[in-house]
Amino acid sequence: MAYGPHTHDDRGRMMAALGIESVDALFEDIPIDVRASRLDLDPPMAELDLAVRLQGLAARNRTDLASFLGAGVYHHYVPPVVDQMLLRGEFYTAYTPYQPEISQGTLQTIFEYQSLLAELTGLEVVSASHYDGATATAEAALMAVRATRRDRVLVSRAIHRHYLDVTGTYLSGGGLVLDEMPTLPDGTTDLAALEAALADAERPVAGVLLGQPNAFGLLEPMAQASQLAHAAGALFIAVVEPVSLAVLATPAEYGADIAAGEGQPLGIAAQYGGPYLGILATTTELMRQIPGRLVGETRDLDGRRAFVMTLRAREQDIRRDKAASNICTNQALCALAATVYLAAIGPHGLRDVASLGAARARELELALAEAGAPRLHSAPYLNEFAIRVPQAQAVHERLLQRGVLAGLALARWYPDDPELRDALLVCATEVTTSAEIRRFAAALGEELA
């Protein structure tokens, strides 16, 4: 066996102590009818052979294209210091810090994570952490339901489709209602429709959910939406992208009660979907409603400052069926990645990352427009936007052959929307190069010619 220490002698010694001749004796409590004989799996592999196999699989993935795909997950420059800290066994082979005396490393990094995200969002209470942006959004919706004791949530149509889907799943169990609000031609949420929906006295709204930037990369009128929600006694929930918070108004500034989002852009690799980092932040008023882990500052018997998990009465292991959520294992190591990333990149660096993305995206917009694919929407964007491309899906496939991953064909997400059938959602970040932009524009130009 690959990693076990037990030699033949060791097993013999243990069996002798137990007075048994075979380990089979320890499995006699499994009724004979349901005892398994053996598994039909491949034989063990030597580490060398396995390493070769894994290398072969990784090499089968193609990650060498010029990529303009974002749609919620963004390629950023991650300083190597981040992964080198993550590779420290003291962090990644520890468990949830249930014994604070010998877990101050994890506890303090979580406290720092909470603090850093509080700086970014402007909100005071940050949980650490949720599975991903989608589940954090769903938990935010459930928080609104609990806090308002209402059962209807409004969500903009311009929200990431997976987030909508997951929120729907999470609300489905409790028989809660999720209503989608339409968008305007400029790509932002229709506030008049929102206001009307909020006005329905029969069906009071628990929370209103908008993305900033929204699923089309556009900047929403968050302050107005927030006011409308509050006027109707609903909570306002912002789904945010954390790098953008280096330059955009904070959820606190526009009055959001809860911010949810995907922390992947903060130093976490794309990995075909995870592990990522669900961000969830809220106000002090809603502190006791937030699900997930919270670490607080305290003192030890000698008066030394130290950190400890706190407000545990919200959690499943204490409250069982009355808990704020069933979450247990979360994404702590990803929160550590975000913490190291933010410490390494600093406030100026993060602002530069966000601004560079905006500048590169603008360069992309101009190049693509010249190639014949203008923007689809007119609202301002940060670093992602939709372009109008006839037969977008077919063009997208042909561009792959030319080494360009031309973003996301929005028809994949909005199959029923005729306008979005001919649209690609593209993004740029600080790692996008001018050469890649030229390559994309040239290839697209040829396809459209």
Partner: protein, 526 residues
């Protein structure tokens, strides 16, 4: 609120935590882990920078002012050397599997192979975008497909989703599938989920999240489910029974056949919490035995790192009956040797997604490597060794502590400090804290709730018999200490970076972040 000033403005890094005589400097106390200031306290305006190029000045010119931050972002400003020291020194404050024995019951703190950390970081795996078209993702898709099949084989189930991000999310997935199953049959009166009183907290919490009422049934004297009580609770309102097997007492449910019959007879479905599969790989296949659906904890059974609290992965396996309800997309075979994600319309009865994209794929890579390293024989050996080690340790610990349940145990066992407490006033909490001074991470304590002064001890298969002996000796030595020097045990730990914490005041007046920073209005470092 963090009292940043005392630490930060005096520039006496760590000075507040000085041990006797020696005052730790920026070098911290030489070798013994010392507490650290926060990033905010270490920050100095103007430090850091240089990671990314500067953007053009007009980069944000097109963004309306109303959408922009009104105050500049304030984050700590540090240079890379300080960042590294901060996290390296913080890491020294952690106990971890890589540095010692971590017999935390219910958590399966086994060794995390270093090959797997390497594999998950291979650029082909690490940089693949989750929305990349299938043709760009063939390597990962092949891996996921093979993992789905392997988990189906291990569980004896028909189909597997890898989407759930953790065990609890696997539970939610499974229970929502059960809900969808009953709903599809028009069987809408089933509003209850039954759990034993020994169940993990996530089980009832999941049932609630899925909109069910939780009904708790007691355990029998032997630690198994009280079958009569279960039968009483079962009825036309029962949607499902959730059973952790082996249980959180480390016991295999001996009356499993009868139990499953009763569940099914009542028209309910049987959910198995498979978090403890480490005990029965190749020995017990839940699907073959009659469970309808289960989840795995890859971060326990298949040794993906716990990461200080996550990430994990909680794949769900189910039988043919429930397969139509698995959340999409599964990975399916396309042309020979090629793979693709299911298309949204392919399985209309699927419940909605439980998370974005395809799941914690980086975790799946590690679990795949682990399963392939061991193969069929190796997986069985894992369980054999885990169970053998647990029984051996159980016997040794039983030389001084009560063992409330008869053996054999599976991967873990409970012991009780009740008698000790009665005799000396020393509680299980004290014993646990004293173990820290003996060099060990304490076991899980006061869980499951049904055992008085409970210790839940799980050695796993990757700890040597020498280590087991030393741990048992430490536990027994503490018994003696508890009689001879009870204060010593009650005031433990004394060798950790901090002594016991004031958890009550932390909860009463929660300080959940450092004092808000100001500034970063400083000029950008060049």
């Amino acid at each position: 609120m963090t009292d940043g000033t005392a630490l930060a403005t005096s520039a006496r890094v760590g000075a507040a935590m000085a041990p006797e005589e020696a005052r730790p400097g920026a070098g911290r106390q030489a070798m013994n882990a010392a507490l650290q200031p926060t990033l905010a306290e270490l920050s100095r305006p103007g430090r850091g920078g240089g990671k990314v190029p500067h953007p053009p000045a007009d980069a944000l010119a097109r963004i309306p002012a109303s959408a922009l931050r009104s105050a500049p972002l304030a984050l700590p400003e540090l240079n890379e050397p300080e960042v590294v020291r901060h996290f390296v020194n913080l890491s020294h404050l952690n106990y971890s599997v890589d540095s010692g024995f971590y017999p935390l019951g219910s958590c399966t703190m086994k060794f995390n192979p270093k090959l797997n950390e390497w594999a998950a970081r291979l650029p082909g795996f690490a940089t693949l975008h989750p929305l990349a078209p299938d043709e760009l993702a063939q390597g990962t898709l092949e891996l996921m497909h093979e993992l789905q099949e392997a988990l189906a084989e291990i569980s004896g189930m028909a189909a597997v989703t890898l989407q759930p991000a953790a065990g609890a999310q696997g539970e939610l997935t499974g229970i929502l599938m059960i809900r969808a199953y009953h709903a599809a049959r028009g069987d809408v009166a089933r509003t209850e989920v039954i759990v034993p009183d020994s169940s993990h907290g996530t089980n009832p919490a999941t049932a609630s999240m899925a909109g069910f009422r939780t009904v708790t049934v007691p355990s029998a004297a032997d630690g198994g489910v009280d079958l009569a009580a279960l039968k009483d609770a079962l009825g036309p309102h029962t949607a499902a029974v959730m059973l952790t097997n082996p249980s959180t007492l480390g016991l295999f449910e001996r009356r499993i056949v009868e139990l499953l019959d009763a569940v099914h007879e009542a028209g309910a479905l049987a959910y198995m919490d498979g978090a403890n599969m480490n005990a029965v790989l190749g020995r017990f296949r839940p699907g073959a035995a009659g469970f309808d659906v289960m989840h795995f904890n890859l971060h326990k059974t298949f040794s993906t790192p716990h990461g200080g609290g996550g990430p994990g992965a909680g794949p769900v396996a189910c039988n043919e009956r429930l397969a139509p309800f698995l959340p999409a997309p599964l990975v399916v075979k396309a042309a020979p040797g090629s793979y693709r994600l299911e298309r949204p319309e392919e399985r209309a009865s699927a419940i909605g997604r439980v998370r974005a994209y395809q799941g914690n794929v980086g975790v799946l890579v590690r679990a795949f490597a682990y399963i392939r390293a061991h193969g069929a024989s190796g997986l069985r050996e894992i369980s054999d060794d885990a169970v053998l080690a647990a029984n051996y340790l159980r016997q040794r610990v039983g030389q001084g502590y009560e063992l409330p349940y008869a053996g054999p145990c599976k991967h873990e066992f409970v012991a009780s400090g009740r008698a000790l407490r009665q005799a000396t006033g020393v509680r299980t909490l004290d014993v646990a804290k004293r173990l820290i001074d003996h060099g060990f991470h304490p076991p899980t304590i006061y869980f499951p709730l049904i055992v008085d002064e409970c210790l839940l001890i799980e050695p796993t298969e990757t700890e040597s018999v020498e280590t087991l002996d030393l741990f048992a000796e430490a536990l027994l030595a503490i018994l003696t200490e508890a009689h001879d020097h009870p204060e010593r045990v009650k005031s433990a730990p004394t060798s950790a970076p901090v002594r016991r914490l004031d958890e009550a005041s932390a909860a009463r007046k929660p300080e959940l972040r450092w004092r808000p920073m100001t500034g970063a209005g400083t000029p950008c470092p060049t």
